[in-house]
Every structure is written in structure tokens, then in C-alpha cells.
């Protein structure tokens, strides 16, 4: 009887081992591919060294250095260190900073608590409850009252202001957006007309013109005695703007719901309110969540425009800090730092929205 034994496996030829194979497959599979690789390497060679030199190798990391001793070849990171509080809190009084920290702390605690809650019913109550109560708490903490010293809004600034404006914008525009979305889908002609005109008007003009409108024209509409806070005007403008976009996002959700759902709710004898609140909106909102997050990201980016109407969001702080004669000419450091902070926030939000999209899309397939 012949016996068979497995031949000893040979090592693949050198040209087929892992690293070489990977290079060949991914970078040098053809002449075009190889030339593309060289072009890419050349671009990297052009861009990367100056960036790295400026931010790291030529930069001055001595956090106590002042503007003159810092040198001009590379970044001067002590500028960020010296103005760090201004970037985060704006001109908020030093001894009251704990209030801002508490506000941020409560947000973190709420998010942590919310993700711990397993039961979906309690979770919904918890989320809705905190959306209703938290803004009041945050307002008292930031502005004052109830025994806390009042801090006028022109002292607010930096990342705090950015977060406040974005949060107020999204929370206030949400119910309004739902109303306009329903209005646009409504069979009542007048209501539909008003909603369409409003939404299309706002979406057709740049945010900056709406902010101008809110800061210059809006006060004219009210009787002379009413003194309008600058921040409040900006918030009204931002909310009016965001409402139109949220309305369109929610309309997308409304349109995605099969007609059978509307008919079934009618057949079950539900009133308009019951149908909307119990059948249509819960489904529509769930579908729209990823896009709502997307719209929130856009709003967060847009808050930088506040600088044009003279509010000190994080970007405007760069100008404020470098106009101080101690730190002349350090704009680039400021812009890079603000860009990095905002980038981290926006990038994690967009990752989150992608994850939501995947989660919801599998449920509906």
C-alpha cells in the first residue's frame, strides 16, 4: 500500500511575502498606479515638513515664554496657554468660573446617566425631562439669579458661548421645526403657504443676512422702551434660521412614512392630535435623527458667524487675544488651536451621526 504524506509547504517566494505583496497590490500594481504613488509622495513631501516644522520642531513649547522670547520660526504655544481661559470662558469673571464648569459637568453627568439607563421607556422620560429642566438650570448658573451674582451676557464668550448658542438654537428650533414641517405637509392651504414661504425664504438667504436682520432690524419692530440684549437678538436669528432647516429634515422623515400608517390611524378613529403625536411623529422623528444630528453639526459650524455681529465666540477670541499688544501677530497659533478644538468636536459628532445612520438603517430594512 502506498502511503501518502503531505509535502512540506514551501515558503512563498520573496516577492509574494506580506509587506512586499501589500506594496505591490496597493501602491505599484500598474504603471499608472506607481506614478500616482510618486505624485502622492511628492505632495506629502511638499506639505508635511513645513507643517510639522511649524507646529512641532521649530515651535516653542516653553509655556512661560512671552511674545518676544518665543521666536518667529515656529508656533508659540505659550500664547494658547496664556489665553486658554479666554478661549474657553470668554470674559467671564474669574471667581465665577465654577458656574460654567458646573454647567459643563452637569451635561457630562446627564449624558453618562442617560447611557446607563437600559430600559428604553425610562430613558425617553429621562431625556425629555432633562431637555425641559436642564436649560433652566444652565441659564441660572450662567446668568445668575437665585442668589448667584448676575453676569451680563456681554461677558460670555469663547467655547462656552459657542456651546450655549448651538444648544439654544437646536432646542428652540426643534418644536418650531416640527410645526413648520407639519404645516408644509398640511392640507390647509393657508398654513401650507405660510410654511413653504417661510422655509424657502430662510433657506434661500445666507445666515449672515438673517443675523444682520436680527441685530439691526429686529429692535425696530418692538416699542422703543424694550432693550434687547445683543446675545438674545443673535439667538433669535439663529433659531429662526435653524427652524427652517430642521423643518426640512423632519419633512423628509414625514415623507418616508408609508401612507398606510396615516390611513390606519384614521381607521382606528384617532383624532388629528392623537394621530400626529402617537403614530406619525414618533416614527418620523426616529428616521430623522441622523439628519438632525447633521443639521446640528452645521449649526455648530455656523456659530462662528457670531463674530461678524460682534459677539465673542471662540473664533472671535483669536482676534481679541492678538489685538492685545502682548501677543501681536500670533493669529495663526490661535486659528490652529480653535480649528483643532472645533474639529475634534465636529468630527466626533459626525462619527456619531454615521453610527446612528447605520443603526437605524438596519432596523428599517
Amino acid at each position: 500500500m502506498a502511503t501518502y504524506s503531505l509535502k512540506e509547504t514551501k515558503q512563498p517566494p520573496k516577492s509574494q511575502t506580506k509587506a512586499v505583496l501589500w506594496l505591490k497590490d496597493n501602491l505599484f500594481s500598474s504603471v499608472t498606479n506607481a506614478s500616482l504613488t510618486f505624485i502622492a509622495l511628492y505632495i506629502i513631501y511638499l506639505l508635511l515638513p513645513p507643517i510639522l516644522n511649524w507646529t512641532i520642531f521649530d515651535a516653542n513649547f516653553d509655556l512661560t515664554a512671552d511674545n518676544d522670547s518665543c521666536g518667529r520660526e515656529g508656533a508659540c504655544w505659550s500664547f494658547i496657554n496664556a489665553n486658554f481661559k479666554m478661549f474657553i470662558y470668554g470674559f467671564y469673571p474669574q471667581e465665577e468660573l465654577w458656574r460654567v464648569n458646573t454647567m459643563f459637568g452637569i451635561i457630562a453627568a446627564l449624558v453618562a446617566l442617560g447611557s446607563l439607563l437600559k430600559s428604553s421607556q425610562y430613558r425617553a422620560h429621562f431625556i425629555i425631562g432633562s431637555f425641559l429642566i436642564y436649560p433652566v438650570v444652565a441659564f441660572v448658573l450662567l446668568y445668575g439669579g437665585l442668589g448667584l451674582e448676575i453676569v451680563e451676557t456681554d461677558k460670555w464668550g469663547g467655547l462656552t458661548l459657542t456651546v450655549v448658542v448651538a444648544a439654544v438654537g437646536i432646542i428652540a428650533s426643534f418644536p418650531l421645526g416640527i410645526l413648520f414641517a407639519l404645516g408644509r405637509q398640511s392640507e390647509m392651504r393657508v398654513v401650507k403657504f405660510i410654511s413653504v414661504v417661510y422655509i424657502e425664504f430662510v433657506r434661500g438667504v445666507p445666515l449672515i443676512t438673517i443675523l444682520f436682520m436680527a441685530s439691526v432690524v429686529l429692535p425696530l419692530f418692538f416699542s422703543a422702551g424694550m432693550d434687547f440684549d445683543k446675545l438674545l437678538r443673535a439667538l433669535i436669528g439663529i433659531t429662526l434660521f435653524q427652524t427652517a432647516y430642521i423643518a426640512e429634515v423632519i419633512r423628509g422623515g414625514l415623507q418616508a412614512i408609508p401612507k398606510g400608517q396615516y390611513e390606519a390611524a384614521d381607521a382606528a378613529g384617532l383624532s388629528f392630535m392623537q394621530k400626529t403625536m402617537l403614530v406619525i411623529l414618533p416614527q418620523a422623528l426616529k428616521i430623522s435623527i441622523p439628519n438632525i444630528v447633521g443639521s446640528f453639526i452645521a449649526l455648530f459650524k455656523d456659530t462662528t458667524l457670531l463674530l461678524i455681529i460682534g459677539l465673542f465666540d471662540m473664533l472671535a477670541i483669536v482676534g481679541a487675544a492678538t489685538s492685545n499688544s502682548n501677543w501681536l501677530g500670533r493669529d495663526t497659533e490661535g486659528y490652529v488651536f480653535v480649528a483643532m478644538v472645533i474639529w475634534v468636536i465636529l468630527y466626533s459628532m459626525s462619527r456619531y451621526s454615521k453610527r446612528l445612520e447605520v443603526r437605524f438603517s438596519t432596523e428599517h430594512k
Partner: protein
């Protein structure tokens, strides 16, 4: 009687009418109140009303002005027109470069080359997550510090100059020759379209493909240039006088920074639209193209891209609209477009906020209406037939 009234009140149609009347009354009331207050406020502050200010002398100089007649002695209306033209110019420049860059990056994102793919991804993720205003300010401050002073300008062939004030290009001197050049350009384009159509027809009939690129180069590019030089036309070159260049066309550094930032930012969105368009093309299409013996490039150009663009173009057109609206951020660096000139300078001088801001908004509304009209026509045309 009472029950009848009650049943009427519960009738859906009657309720709808009542509700709408209520809505109109509430809105009319608030509008009336606002209008009333407004008139009172305007009177108290001594602000004029109406559009009479448009005929007043503007009294300020404008940095960037391309075709229109404008001087500080011109009226506010002329300043308004200069603003509109400048908005359109920066928008068109931005749209052009954003499209080219977006197309390249979008295709690169799906490249089989690892390095190219990753670079495209990094570019998109970095630039779309940084607010556009920050990018504009950043590039502006970079341009101001990185470009040399007018005396040490970077010069190309002694006719194009770049310095920290702007880019200076030679300008064709106006005269009869320009019309000759324009006419030859139009003739070139028309005859190229004719040739292209014939070659397409030949391809449809016989399957033989003719290369029309030389015709394109000859008729559309070379012909006007040849006519230009043959007619002996002159160029006006920018010349250094005093502290800066005079003559020629000058593009201010503000324009540069704005157009650059808008292109870089919007290109990321266009790239994503193109990528998702390409991904929407069924794999079978690529396999069929490969099975028919088309090369990679042919398959991309003839099979994948035409189908991908149908999906990608609506979001791309939306991005064009966004770019145009974002060009209003010029106010932050002072490129003299509509918002800077009109809602900025003119508003400061005249003080008639309502009229000025409404006029500004109307211009943007008109632009968005035109763009959404184009979009609708496109969508109608591109609908897959037989569906």
C-alpha cells in the same frame, strides 16, 4: 340648533377654515404691531425710509471692480451692482475650482491606490469639519504674511505679479480687436460642437471612434489666440508705481483668500457627492464594461461617471448654492461683494437697515431661485425614461 352648531364645530373642514382664519388674524396682528412700532422708531431716530437713498452719491471707493464703471462719485445703486457682480465673480471662481478639486478628490477616494485613497480621506475629513469662516480668516492671514511685499513681488514672465496685496494680470486693451477675438472664439466653439456631433453620429452608426481633442485645442483654444495676435491687439501690463501695481487686472488678496477657502471647503462636499454617486452605480455595470473589454479609464469615463453624475449632480448643485451663500462671509475679510458693500458700508452711511437688508436678501433669493430652477429642469431631464 345647538347640536347642529356643535356638529358643525366638530366638522373637520369647518375646523380647518376656522383655524386658518385664526392663523391669518394672529399673523396680521403681529405684523401690524411690528410695522407700527417700526414706523414710530424710525420717526424717533430720524431715519429716512424708502428707496431714495439708492440715487445718493456713494462716496466710498471699492477695492475690486471688474467691468462696471464705478468711482466714489457714483450712486449707491451702482455700488449695489458692483456688489452683485463681485459676489457672482467670486462664486463662479469658487464653483469652478471646487468642482475640479472635488471631482479629483471624489474619484481618488475610491482609488485602488492606498496612498491616494487615504490622502483624499484625510483631506475631506480635515477640511469639512472646520468652519468656513475660520478657514477664510486663516488663509487670509496666511496670504498676508506669506506673500511678499509689492516691491519684492513674485513675477511670472514679468507680466503676472503676486504680492501680499493681490494678483496682477495683464489686461487686453479694449478696442475692435476684442470683438474679433470674441467672434472667433464663438465660431470656434460652434464649429467644435458641430464636429463633435458628427463624430458622435459616426460612432453611433459605425462604432468607429474619432479623437476630437485636436479639434478642440485648435478651434476653441488656438484660434482665438491666433486671431488675437494676428489682429495686433495690445495687452496692458501691470507696472509697479509707488507702493503698488497699476494697470492690468488686479485681484485683491481678500478675493484670493475667499475664493481659495470657499473652493477648498466646498470641494470636500462635492467629493463626497461624487463618491456616493460612483458607489451608487451597480457593480454589474463595471463588470459588464470590463467584460466588453473596456479599459479602466474607458469604463470610468463612458460607463460609470455618466451614471454616477446623475445621482451626484443634484447635491453638487446644492453645494454651488451653499458656496454662493457662503461668499457673503467676505464681510469678515473685506472683499467688496454684496454684503460688504451694501449691508456693510452703505448701511453704515445711510442707516436704512430694513430696505438695505431686504434688498440684499432679495438678491440671494433670486440666485437660489434660479439655481433651484436649473436643478428642477435637470431632474426632469435626467429621470430614467420608461420608469
Amino acid at each position: 340648533m345647538f347640536t347642529k352648531l356643535k356638529s358643525l364645530l366638530y366638522n373637520n373642514e369647518v375646523r380647518a377654515i376656522l383655524f386658518q382664519i385664526l392663523a391669518v388674524v394672529v399673523i396680521a396682528y403681529f405684523a401690524y404691531q411690528a410695522f407700527d412700532n417700526m414706523m414710530l422708531n424710525i420717526e424717533q431716530r430720524g431715519i429716512r425710509s424708502g428707496f431714495g437713498f439708492l440715487n445718493d452719491e456713494a462716496g466710498f471707493a471699492v477695492n475690486d471692480n471688474f467691468f462696471l464703471e464705478y468711482s466714489p462719485a457714483s450712486t449707491n445703486l451702482q455700488a449695489f451692482y458692483v456688489g452683485i457682480v463681485n459676489t457672482l465673480i467670486v462664486a463662479i471662481t469658487g464653483i469652478f475650482f471646487a468642482s475640479v478639486l472635488g471631482l479629483i478628490v471624489g474619484i481618488s477616494r475610491l482609488s485602488s491606490n492606498y496612498l491616494i485613497r487615504k490622502m483624499a480621506t484625510v483631506y475631506i475629513e480635515v477640511f469639512r469639519n472646520i468652519p468656513i469662516l475660520l478657514q477664510i480668516l486663516f488663509w487670509y492671514s496666511m496670504a498676508l504674511s506669506a506673500f511678499p511685499s509689492p516691491k519684492n513681488s513674485i513675477s511670472f514672465f514679468d507680466s503676472i505679479f503676486l504680492n501680499s496685496r493681490g494678483l496682477y494680470l495683464p489686461r487686453p486693451v479694449e478696442g475692435v480687436e476684442i470683438y474679433l477675438v470674441l467672434a472667433s472664439f464663438i465660431i470656434g466653439v460652434v464649429s467644435y460642437i458641430f464636429i463633435k456631433r458628427r463624430s458622435n453620429k459616426k460612432h453611433d452608426d459605425t462604432g468607429i471612434e474619432t479623437n476630437t481633442t485636436p479639434y478642440f485645442a485648435g478651434l476653441v483654444l488656438l484660434l482665438p489666440i491666433a486671431v488675437y495676435f494676428a489682429s495686433g491687439a495690445q495687452l496692458e501690463y501691470p507696472v509697479l508705481k509707488g507702493f503698488n501695481f497699476r494697470g492690468g487686472v488686479d485681484l485683491s488678496i481678500e478675493f484670493f483668500a475667499l475664493a481659495f477657502a470657499l473652493s477648498i471647503y466646498t470641494a470636500t462636499y462635492i467629493a463626497e457627492a461624487i463618491r456616493s454617486g460612483i458607489e451608487s452605480v451597480d457593480n454589474g455595470q463595471k463588470e459588464a464594461a470590463a467584460a466588453m473589454g473596456l479599459t479602466q479609464t474607458q469604463s470610468l469615463r463612458l460607463v460609470v461617471l455618466p451614471q454616477a453624475l446623475r445621482v451626484a449632480i443634484p447635491p453638487i448643485i446644492n453645494q454651488y448654492l451653499n458656496l454662493t451663500k457662503n461668499s457673503s462671509l467676505a464681510a469678515a475679510v473685506g472683499y467688496t461683494e454684496l454684503v460688504t458693500i451694501f449691508s456693510g458700508t452703505v448701511l453704515n452711511v445711510v442707516g436704512q437697515a430694513i430696505e438695505i437688508i431686504i434688498l440684499t436678501m432679495l438678491v440671494y433669493l433670486a440666485i437660489s431661485l434660479v439655481i433651484s430652477l436649473i436643478l428642477n429642469i435637470f431632474n426632469k431631464k435626467m429621470q430614467i425614461k420608461g420608469k
